[in-house]
Amino acid sequence: MTEDVAKISVNIPETVASKSAHEVSQAESDDRDLVERCQRGDLDAYEVLVGRYRVKVYNLAFGILRNEQDATDLCQEAFVRGWQAIHSFRKDASFYTWIYRITTNLGIDFVRRRDRRPTTPLDEAIDPDVDASVQEPPSTNPSPVDEAQRRELREQIDAALLQLSPEHRVVIQLREFDDMDYAAIAKVIGCSIGTVMSRLHYARKHLQKLLKPVI
């Protein structure tokens, strides 16, 4: 181990800032009421839950599959499975984590099945029209050159993410884009926090190599 006498300056963040406990407990309490109604067969209550988590589940599905149509199908299947399994939902769990777990398991299975089939080249998979409709932050008005560079960078990142294993892609998606803490990620993917740390480390290390030209 190389130990330098002079201290090295690194930007170390404070511990994870979570949402206010009140906010979280309020949302979970609402979810629990809705889940109880669903367990009694109330489909209207499930519609509220679907509306609440539709976009998040879709984003997770897209993060795993990197394909819009597949992500929409996966999202739909996850909610259908959720309804079919709602009787087994334990009230001490969080609906959000639970539906994420269903989506993740379905997503990983889907990717494994898809990887056995011939794949569409990345250039064909990216639809430029859809990408152009992406909502940009309203703070600046990027020039066409900036916009082109940004799109190119995003394509490179997409291509790099597509090369990760589904397990690594899931942890990256949950951590970097959904901003979940390690405990929540561990619950979603059903492993220990140590495994989450390890997967995140190797996923980022792999991305370092793949994205070396742009870093």
Partner: protein, 188 residues
């Protein structure tokens, strides 16, 4: 931390380490060039990803999406499947609730310790003594010894209602130094 623990670097980068683990990882990264470089590289990747999230808005409207889900649910009818409930593994659960677990353990030990010093909680003796009931006994009126040189004396105590027979010279042995004195209480 005395070695290059890469997972700890990841935990530090994500702000997930707490207490002593955080302090040790922070101290190590601030002194070790290898780990500091690794930390910076991972941070760059992290920043790049966060600055460029995958954006692909869902094209289905909420109503259309729900109609598809509802139709599929109704098509499948009462078919039921099982989905595992997400939970932490036991070791992680203990780590997440370490202060609660430590407090509960300390409280338990304190309660047990306090009860130990209170005589009322030590419990009653396990052995109970019951008075012996008097059993009918045979009283020796006459004793005849068959072995020569044996002397037996019977002592009879009427108050205690016992008879003691004091026997000497039994068994017979030529070595008088080894002569034993035998005591027999026929009432016991």
């Amino acid at each position: 931390m005395t070695h290059h623990n890469t997972e700890a670097i990841t935990g530090l980068l994500d702000g997930e380490l707490k207490g002593l683990r955080r302090w040790m990882a922070q101290r190590h990264v601030s002194r070790c060039t290898t780990c500091a470089d690794e930390y910076r590289r991972q941070e760059q990747v992290r920043q790049l990803l966060r600055a460029n999230p995958p954006v692909s808005p869902m094209t289905d409207s909420p109503e259309f999406f729900w109609s598809k889900v509802k139709t599929e649910i109704q098509r499948r009818g009462d078919e039921r499947v099982a989905a595992p409930t997400p939970h932490l593994v036991f070791a992680d659960w203990v780590r997440q609730h370490q202060f609660a677990v430590a407090t509960a353990a300390a409280a338990f030990i304190a309660v047990v310790g306090a009860l130990w010093f209170i005589p009322a909680f030590r419990g009653t003796p396990m052995v109970t003594v019951t008075p012996r009931t008097a059993t009918p006994v045979a009283r020796v009126e006459h004793l005849k010894t068959l072995i020569p040189h044996t002397a037996a004396t019977a002592f009879d105590d009427k108050d205690a209602d016992v008879t003691v027979i004091w026997v000497t010279g039994l068994p017979w042995t030529p070595d008088m130094n080894k002569m034993e004195t035998k005591f027999a209480n026929l009432d016991t």
